[in-house]
C-alpha cells in the first residue's frame, strides 16, 4: 500500500506523526481504540501498512500516520496512543525537565499507566521501575548507570529530572486477550445471571498455585454476610498473603467475636438489632484498652474471626482510616498518605488480588497495582467492577454475588 498524500489536509509536518504498533491488535480491541482516538480528537489517519496476524497466534503489525489540527491535539493523541502500547518516536530520547518544587511536576509531565514501561534516554533503553498508574517518571543516576523510576506526584523532590512530553516512551499494554487468560471464565462481563460456581472453580484453580502471592481487599460486608469462618479457613491454610481493608472490617469482626453481632445484625440468627447496643463502640473500646488487636489475640481475649486468624498466621495487614470511622482502632492508619504507603508495601510482588465488597479500598488498590495482577472483584452490586474498569483497572473481572456464599464455596473447594 502506498502512502496517500490526499489524506493529509495540512502540509505542516509538525502536525503529523508516524506511529507503529505490534501485537494482538484486533482481538485486544487496541486497533479500534487507536483509530477511535484519532477521530475523536478531530485528527485524520492514513495507514501505510497493516499486516494482520494470519492465525490466532500471529501478531499484527501496524504502520501509520496521523495528522492533527494543532499541537495540543497532536500531543493529546500521542499521549493516548502511547498508553495503548503504540510506538511514536520511541527512538528519540525522552525530554526531561526539572521539578520546580517538592511535590510539583513540570506542566507537561508524562503520567504513567499500570503497564510495563521503557524509555529511551541518551541512546539507552531503560525500564521504568515501580510502575503504577498516575505517577511521573524520574530519571536519575549517570551515564550507563542511569535509571528510571515511577514516582507519585506528591513524592517528587525539587530538582528531580522528570520525563515530559511524548517522545521516547514505550508502554507494553497487557490488555485482556481472547484465549490467553488464566481465568477460564474471563469474559470481562459483569453479570448477576452467571453461574457462580463456575467462577469459584476458576478462582480456586488460580489460588491453588502455591507460588502465587495473593492479597485480599475486603469490606465489612465480609462479616455481615457470614463469610468470617470461611475466610479464616483460607487464612489458616495459607491462601492469603496480605489483607487490605479499613477500620470497619476489623471493628465489625471483633464486635462479632465479642458480642455476636456485626453493626446491629445478629450474625447467628440474621435478625436485625436496630441500634441501642453500641456493640461496635464497645469493641473499639476493648481494643483501645488492650492497646492493639495483636495484644488482644496474645492475651487470649480474641480467639476467632478474621483478625484473629490474620494475626495468628502472621499475615501482614493494613487498615486505612476514613472520614466516617468510629474510633478508630489503634492500628488504623489515619493519615491517607501513610495508608497508601502501607498498602503499597503489602502489594509488592502480588500476583492475585481478590477484592471483596469494598468499592473504596478496591479502587484505591486498583490505582496501585500493575495491570498484570490477576484481579477478581466480588460484590453483590454490579457497579463496583464497572467503576474499577472506568478508572483504568481493565484487568479486573467482576462477579456479582453474595460475598459470604462466595467464600463458603471457595473455602470448600480449596481447604481440607
Amino acid at each position: 500500500m502506498t502512502n496517500e498524500s490526499s489524506a493529509q489536509p495540512n502540509s505542516d509536518n509538525n502536525l503529523r506523526k508516524s506511529f507503529r504498533a505490534v501485537g494482538h491488535l484486533v482481538d485486544s480491541g487496541i486497533m479500534k481504540e487507536i483509530l477511535d482516538t484519532i477521530i475523536r480528537e478531530d485528527g485524520k489517519f492514513s495507514i501505510d501498512r497493516f499486516d494482520i496476524g494470519k492465525t490466532n497466534d500471529d501478531q499484527s503489525v501496524l504502520e501509520a500516520t496521523y495528522t492533527a489540527e494543532n499541537a495540543t491535539t497532536r500531543d493529546a493523541i500521542a499521549r493516548h496512543l502511547i498508553d495503548l502500547g503504540v510506538e511514536i518516536d520511541v527512538e528519540h530520547s525522552v525530554k526531561v525537565e526539572i521539578s520546580p518544587a517538592d511535590g510539583v511536576a513540570p506542566k507537561d509531565f508524562y503520567t504513567t499507566t499500570n503497564h510495563k514501561t521503557t524509555i529511551t534516554y541518551n541512546g539507552h533503553t531503560i525500564q521504568v521501575d515501580n510502575v503504577r498508574m498516575d505517577g511521573a517518571i524520574v530519571v536519575y543516576g549517570k551515564d550507563t548507570a542511569t535509571k528510571a523510576k515511577c514516582v507519585k506526584q506528591r513524592d517528587l523532590k525539587s530538582g528531580d529530572k522528570i520525563v515530559v512530553g511524548v517522545e521516547g516512551i514505550r508502554v507494553e499494554a497487557e490488555f485482556v486477550e481472547r484465549d490467553r487468560s488464566e481465568f477460564g471464565f474471563m469474559t470481562g462481563d459483569v453479570s448477576s445471571e452467571r453461574v457462580v460456581r463456575i467462577v469459584v472453580d476458576s478462582v480456586a484453580e488460580v489460588m491453588s498455585d502455591r507460588t502465587k502471592k495473593i492479597v485480599v481487599v475486603a469490606g465489612p460486608v465480609l462479616i455481615h454476610t457470614g463469610g468470617s469462618g470461611s475466610f479464616g479457613r483460607l487464612v489458616e491454610q495459607g491462601y492469603v498473603h496480605g489483607l487490605l481493608s479499613g477500620n470497619a472490617l476489623a471493628v465489625h469482626d471483633i464486635e462479632n467475636q465479642l458480642f455476636g453481632t456485626s453493626l446491629g445484625i445478629d450474625t447467628k440468627t440474621g435478625e436485625a438489632i436496630d441500634g441501642g447496643n453500641s456493640h461496635h463502640l464497645r469493641a473499639i473500646n476493648e481494643v483501645r484498652r488492650a492497646g492493639s488487636i495483636k495484644n488482644m489475640v496474645e492475651a487470649g481475649l480474641l480467639n476467632r474471626g478474621v483478625m484473629s486468624s490474620i494475626v495468628k498466621a502472621n499475615v501482614p495487614y493494613a487498615l486505612a482510616g476514613s472520614i466516617r470511622d468510629d474510633g478508630p482502632l489503634p492500628e488504623t492508619i489515619t493519615d491517607m498518605n501513610e495508608a497508601q504507603t502501607a498498602y503499597g508495601k503489602i502489594l509488592e510482588g502480588a500476583d492475585v488480588c481478590l477484592m471483596l465488597a469494598s468499592m473504596l479500598h478496591s479502587i484505591a488498590v486498583g490505582n496501585m497495582i500493575p495491570a498484570r495482577v490477576l484481579t477478581v472483584c466480588v460484590d453483590i452490586n454490579p457497579p463496583v467492577v464497572t467503576k474499577l474498569k472506568d478508572r483504568g483497572s481493565h484487568q479486573a473481572i467482576g462477579v456479582v454475588t453474595d460475598v459470604g456464599l462466595f467464600l463458603h464455596l471457595l473455602a470448600n473447594r480449596l481447604c481440607t
Copy 2:
C-alpha cells in the same frame, strides 16, 4: 376517659363515625396506620378507650371516633380503616347495588383486600368466599342460604348484587406480627447484607412440613444461575406442588437441556455466547414439532431439567405468555385472562409461595393469594420485594441473593 366534644369541629353527625379495633394493634403497626390515615385525610380523631394489651399475649382494644370534613373523605377514611381490620358500622347490613352490565361494578363498590372478610347481611354474618385482592363482593342465594363471594371485576354479571359503601364489612387483617411468624428471620427487612444461610434454614424448616402445599413462582434466572439441578431435586422429592412461570423459563430450560446454553450463556462454563446460535428459537421449534413439552418428555427427547422433572412428577404448572415472548411454546397460555385463571387454580389451597427472580409473575401471584400464604421472594435485585409490598402483599419476605446458590443450599438442606 370521656369523649372530648371540643375535638369535633363539625356538628354534623353525618361526618362523624365511631369505630372499634381489637388485636395486636401496636406491634402490627395498625394503631399508627389508623391514626395516620385520619390525619392524612384532614380528619380529626378522638379516642374514647384504648386498653393496651398488658403483656405480649394480650390483645389491645381501641374505641374511638373520627370526624371528616365532608362525605367523600369520611368514606375514604372508612374504606381504609376497614381494610386495616377496624370495625365501623359492622352491625349494619351491607348495602348492595345491582351490577349495570357484565364486567361493570356499581360506582361505589367495595374493593376487597387479601384478608379474611365477613359481611353482615339481613342480620346474618356471612364469610366471603374466595377472598383475593381487588375483587368485588357478590351476594347471592336466599335467606339463611345467602352466600357471598369475591369476584374479579371482569367476571361480574349484569344483575349481580354487589356490596357497595362501607357499612357491614369486617376484615381480619393478618399483618406481620412480632414473634408470631413461622419464619425465624421474619423481620420484614430486605437486605443484601444478610446471612443467607440462616434464611435457607428457616425456609427449609417451613418446607419440611409435609402437610403444606408449596407453589413456586420462577423466572428464567433460575436456569441462568445454574439452579436447574437443585430445583429438579426438590421436585423429585416432593417439595414442589405447583409451578407458575412464563414462556421464557420453559424455553431456556429446554434450550439448556438440548444445547447446553441458556439465552446465550453456556451453563457449563459460564461463558457468554453473544447471539448467533439462536438456540432458544430451535428449542421452541422442537417443542412445537413434538406438540408439547409432555410429548417431548414421553418420547424421551427431554430427560432432565426443570420442565422434565415437573412433567415426570405430575406437578401442575402454568406458563403465562407475555408481549416479549418468542414462540411461544404450545403450552404457553397467550390470553392473560385465561392465564390468570390457570394460575388461580394452581394457587388454590397454597400454604407457601416461593418466588424466585420474577418480578412480573410474583406481582401477579401477590394479587391472587390471601395474605395468610407464607411468601418468600428471592431475587438479587432489592426492589422486587419492595414492589410486592407496595402493592399490598405485606406478608412477603425478601431475600437478596443469587437464586442458583439459594436453591443449591436449600436442596442440600432438604433433599436426601
Copy 3:
C-alpha cells in the same frame, strides 16, 4: 500474503470455509467479533487479505478462511459470521425445506437478525421483506417473480418453503459506528453520571425532523414521575406518532385524571397514599362503564392526560395485557399474539423509538424493529438498556435519569 496451509489441522475440505467481509470492520468491532467467534468455537482462521481502510472514510476488505473441528461447529461459526454481515457462499443458492406443520420450521432453519437481508435463489438476488429479529425466511412466488419475506415461527404454514442452513444469505449489519450517528452523544454508554441536558438536546434535534415517524413505548412511571403534562404537549404538537404500552399506563393516567392519584401516590403533593382508596380499580370501572377510553373522551368524562391527548390527536396506540393486570381496560389486548400483531402494525415505518421506563414493552419492541430505527431508552434503572442490547437491540442508546424530568426538559426544548 499467501495462504498458510500449516494452519489447517484438518485436510477435510468440508470443514473449511472461505469468507469475505467489507465495511468499517475495525471501528464497528466486527473484525474482532469475527475472529473471536472462530476461536470460541475452537476453529482456526487464516487471513488471505486484509486491506484496512486507509482513512476514516475508506472501507476495509477482509478475505479469509476458517477451519472447524466438525460440521456442527462449522455451521455454528457460519451462522454467527453471516449475522455479522460476513459473506460466506453468498453466490450459492439458499437451500429451502418444506415446513412440516403449521407453526413449525425445519430443524435447520435460518433465524433472522434485525438487519437488512438478501438471499441468492436460483441465480437471483432477492431482498427479504419485513425483516425482524428471530423470524424465518419464507420463499414464495415463481421464477423472476420469486419473493422472500421474514415470518414469525408461529405464523409459518405447513408447506411453506423455508430457508435452511447457511448458504446464499447476506446480511448488512448496521452496527453503531464511530462518527456516523445521528445522535451526537452516541457513545453507547449507559451512565448515571452523564449530563442529561446534552442528551435531551440531541434527542430533540432528531425529533424536530418532521419527516420522521416517532413511536413512544412507555410504562406507568411516566405518570408517577409527573411526566403526563409534558407528554401531552409533545402529543398535541405532533411529536408522537404511535404509543405502545400496557394496561397500567392507561389505568394510572385515568386514575390520575379522575382522582388525582396514581397507584397510591398523590401526583400533586408527591405524598404516598398506602392502599385503601382503590382508585385504580374505580378508574377501570368507569372506563368499563363507558365502554372505551375513546367514549370517555368523547363524552367529556376524560379531558386531560396521556390517553386523552392521544385520543384527541388520533395517535394510534396499543395496550398489551399482562399476567399482573387488574381489570383490564376494555381496549387492553389480552391475547399476546394479537398484541404483538397490533404493536407491529404501529411500528411499521418507524424511524425513531423512544422507550420510557418500561422494560417489558421495550424488550418486546426491540424484538420487532429493524436495527436502523433510532432507539433511545430512558430509565432510572441502568440494567434496562443493557438487557435490550443483550437481546440484540445493539442500536439502543441508554439514558439513566428520571423520566418525568426528561420529558419536562424535552417538551420545553421542542414545544412552543
Copy 4:
C-alpha cells in the same frame, strides 16, 4: 389497670425495671419499638397505664414495667429504651467511672445518640453539651457548676469522669412525626417514582428562610452531572454556608474548568473520553504549583465552578482525604481525625444539611450532626439514604434523582 403479677416469671426484683414515656408515642412508632425491643431480648412487659393522646395534638403517656431474664439483657433493654426517649430511673443520679487511659472509656460507658440529652447528677439536672452520635458523656466542674459534655472516645483523657450504666439519663428523641415536618413531602420514603419537582419546591421553601444555616455535602457526581453552574448560583446568592467534601470534588471541578473534562467525561458534549489525557493529574499539579485553590482564584487562574464560587463567597469548606485519592490537593486534609474535626467545626449550628451524591461523606456527616438538623439526601442510587437511616440518621429524607437536574431546578426556583 393493676399490675399483673402473673406476667413476671422471675421474682428477682433486680431483673425488673419500671419505665415511663411521654410523647407522640404511636405516630412516631416509638411505642411499637419499645415493646419490640423487650420481646426481642426475651423480656416480658406489663403495662400499668397507657393514656393515649385523645386527639392528634395530645401526647400519650405510658407507664410500664419489664422483666428480663438476666442482668445483661436487663441493661441491654434499658440502654435501647433510654435512646428511644423512655425514662428509666431518671431520678437516680448517673453513675460515673474514671477513664483508665487516654482514649479509653470504662467498660460499661453510656454511648450517646444524636438527640438532646440530660442527666441527673447529685440531684441536679444537667443538659449534655455538644451532643452527637456515638460519644461518651464526661462530667466535669464542681457542685452547682457541674457540667456535662459529649466527647468522642478518642478525645477522652485519663481521669475523665465518664457516665456508665443506664441510670439517670434522659434522651429527648426527635423522631419523624406525622404532620409536624417542615418538609411537605416528608414521608420518609425513598422512591424513584416520585415527583421530583414537588420535592424541589419543598426544599426551596426551607432554604429560602434566610435565618437558616445550610451546609452542603457533595461528591464529584455534582460535577459529572453538570450541576456545577447551578451550584455556583446558589453559592453566589448566599444559599450555601459550608461545603463538606473530599479531594475528588475539587479535583474534578478544577479539571472541568481548566480542561473542560471531568474524570474523562467531556462536560460540554457528554462524550466519554477514556483515559489518556490525565487531566485530573494535571489539574492537581496546577494547584500544587499555585500552592492552594485560594491562590489560584486570587491569581485569576480559576474563575468559575464550584471551588471558585466557594472561595470568592468566603464559604468555609473542608476536603477530607481518602485512601483512593490521587494527589492530593494541598488543602485536602489527609489525617482523618483532623478531617473529622474540620467537618465538625463547619457543621456547628447547622440547621439544614443537603447531601448530594456522596455516600462516604454523607454517612460521616450523619454521625456528627444532631437529629434536629433537616437532612435531605439526593442520589440516583436508592441505597444511600437507607444506609444513612440504618446508621441512626433517622431524620434523613431521600430523593432518588439526577443531582445535576435537581440543582438546576433548585437554582431556578431560588435564584434571581
